[in-house]
Structures are given as structure tokens and as C-alpha cells.
Symmetry: C2
Subunit: 230 residues, 2 copies
Amino acid sequence: MRIVVADCSVDYAGRLSAHLPRAKRVLMLKNDGSILVHSDGGSYKPLNWMSPPCSHAQLELDETQTSAGIVEAWQVTHKKTADKLIVSIFEILHDSAHDLGVDPGLIKDGVEAHLQELLADQIELAGAGHTLVRREYMTPIGPVDILAKDAAGGSVAIEIKRRGGIDGVEQLTRYLELMNRDPKLAPVTGVFAAQEIKPQARTLAEDRGIRCLLLDYDAMRGMEDQNTLF
Amino acid sequence: MRIVVADCSVDYAGRLSAHLPRAKRVLMLKNDGSILVHSDGGSYKPLNWMSPPCSHAQLELDETQTSAGIVEAWQVTHKKTADKLIVSIFEILHDSAHDLGVDPGLIKDGVEAHLQELLADQIELAGAGHTLVRREYMTPIGPVDILAKDAAGGSVAIEIKRRGGIDGVEQLTRYLELMNRDPKLAPVTGVFAAQEIKPQARTLAEDRGIRCLLLDYDAMRGMEDQNTLF
DNA sequence: AAGTTCATTTCGAGA
DNA sequence: TCTCGAAGTGAACTT
């Protein structure tokens, strides 16, 4: 990673043509040859950039450029699309290189996991009087997201998805079939919970006697915040 | 703009929860309080970030943190959504600040203008034997993008859009109506040229006897490059 | 101001 | 490998 702060102008030609007038900017040159041109504002999106794979070359300066005050010119070319980015540098204000190594990468706590956590905490959303038995209840063919008991004491298996499609209903159906063979659990009813339930999935679920539960992630999160605060 | 290269771990809590394990990264702190966490790879999207408006605070370190080797901890909080980003720093490898001033901003050369230029140069795309009369041919209600003549010497008015919708067809229709009143031009036929023509627009155009011409921007640009090279 | 569409989108999952 | 949908999308344009 090389970081250059410079007074520069930038020209891009690719899907569109774009030009950045002369100004001080931060140029981030990554090891894969890619380059980002950042200003002191805006969002995380650079003013201009070149995505990898691409190659970096130093251009020869002609008379016009040197007399205009350009001290260095870079050309970054994309290896597949022939997109081109030219950085004309008038003054380098800072230049440093850093060996960062390979990044271990971002760990995202999936929304599904979070939904499961939230619904476990707010299990009454599945029905008045419902109580939590346990999350990730193991069955021979995999874990059921949530096992609960309804007001009458009957078992309830809940499958949680962010987007509820046919697949999720089939999955829950398999769990229910298996769990209903267990005399300690049976009869087990099913709840298919998701932020969004596709019409086909809803039809299939209801046809099989599985209840559908639409989850409002933001509302559940807001509820959680209140529980934490007080 | 402050640039810090540091051995750090990052935690984000907002719409989702995310964690970046300890590693060397570049932290870009913009003047508006926003922060970008970049690694030496990936695209222009940072591993993690906080968009403005947000505020930056230095956290007090507790025993657990100091014994874990953390020398500094930052908390960046969004001013509206209460999203939170915490950067735990184990070692600062580089730290510099730069006054960049306000950026004049990106100037995008519209694709439509470029398409007009390209089609004017490759006017035979509009039909074999077509010749260019002029670009931006003025009429009392505005300029027609391209005026050409077909192989038989008849006038052809071409309207160019990046995405061809109903609006563009209506616009061209008005031009054609007007131009057909001019005995020096009449009869004038219309060509609706665009990178993408919506079905409704195509139907309307063809119903009015206007030809539709799908433009392949990349191919036209490639052709232009060849013309320039040889 | 609120909604819609586009993006040099980027990114990930599923087929 | 390719296609399709989501994104902590952001940004520009319409209504």
C-alpha cells in the first residue's frame, strides 16, 4: 500500500469520460495495482478510481506537460476492459509505503442470526403465551432455529429466514415430520418466520398448516434497545 | 484529512454487526468526521466505514483493554442513526494530517454527448449510404441531435438518448412535425437511437414510422479507437 | 421533501 | 463460471 498526497488532476476514460480539476487529493495505491482518488469529504466512494486487475505505468512527460507544471504522470490501465485513468501530478506533498499483509477479512454477523436472537428474546411475537425452549434445537437432520412452547404447552418449531422462499418451507416441513415422530415433542406445529415471505412460500406453508410470521427487523431491534436501556 | 496506518481491530454495530480481526490497515479520517478502514486489496469499498455526519471520540481504556495491548480506542458515532464504529489500536505505524481544501468535484462527460459524437463519425450505422449534414441542427423548438441524408437524398432526423423512453420519442415526433413543414427539408424521416430502447418507446416509435437504432457504445468506441490508430 | 432510478456500482449466494 | 439479487448501498433526478 502506497499513500500519496498530491496536487493533481485526474482523467478517466472508460464507460464514461470524467475529469477532476487540479486540487490536493489523497491517492491510495493498493498492491494489486488498483488506485483510489479521495478528497476530504464525500462518502466512502472515491472521486475516481480504477478497480483491479490493472497495471500502473509512469508516463513520459512532453513539453506541454512540463511547462504546465506537471512533474509526474501516471497511467493506470484496466487489464480486461481497457479503461484508463491518468493522474497528472503537479506536486507531491506526501509519499509513504506500508506493508499491511493480507487482511483476515470482515466478519459479518448475519441478519438471520440476529433475527434468531431477537425472536428468541421476544418469543411472544410468535403468539401470545409462547415461551422459549431453546435456540438451535438439534435434530438428526440439522438444527431447528427455535423450539418454543405455545400457551397450551404444545411444541412449536420456528424456522427463521431473512427472505422466506419455498426452500425454507420445505426445510421446516422436514424438521416437523421428524420431530412429530418423537413422542416427547409431538404434536409439533410449525412457524415460518421471515422479514419477507414470498407468496408461493406462504401458500405452500399455509397449505401444510404452517403458520407464517412476518418479522419487522427494525421494530424488533428497537424493542431490544429498550429492553437493554431499562 | 488524517491518515493513520495502524495495527488494529474494528467493530461496527448498526444495521448489522461486523468485526474486523486485528491486522494492519489504513485509517482515513476525513474532516467531516467520517472514517474509512481500508486494507491492501478489494475494490474502492472500505472494509468498514462511518459515513458523515458523525463524530469522533477517544475512549478511556479499561484494564482488560490495556492488558490486551490496546494503546488507543476510537469511537465514531453517527449523528442520526446511532450507528457505532469502534477502532481498537494496538500500534500506530504512521500518522499524518494534510490540509486538502475543498475539492472542485468530478466533471462527468455525459455519455449522450459522446454517443452523438460517435454516431456523427459513424453515420452509416444509421443506414447504408447515409451522410452527415450536421450535428445539433437548430429548429425553433430546440436542436435535433443529428441531421443526415439517406442514400436517396432524403432528410433524416436522429434523436440520441442513452436510454430510450417514451419521452425521447415524443421529442423526436415534435421535431419531425416541425421539420416536415419546411419544404427545403421535407420529407424528413426519424431515427430514434439509444443504447437501450424500452419496449413501450419502440412500439410508439415504430407506430409513428420512426426507425429504432440500438447503439453499441463499446463497439462504437472501439471503432473510433481503430480510426484514430490507423 | 419524498420517491424512483441509476451506478465506472460492489458483493455475495445459488445454479 | 455465470446470473441474479442485496447493499450499513450512495447519488442524481422526478414529482
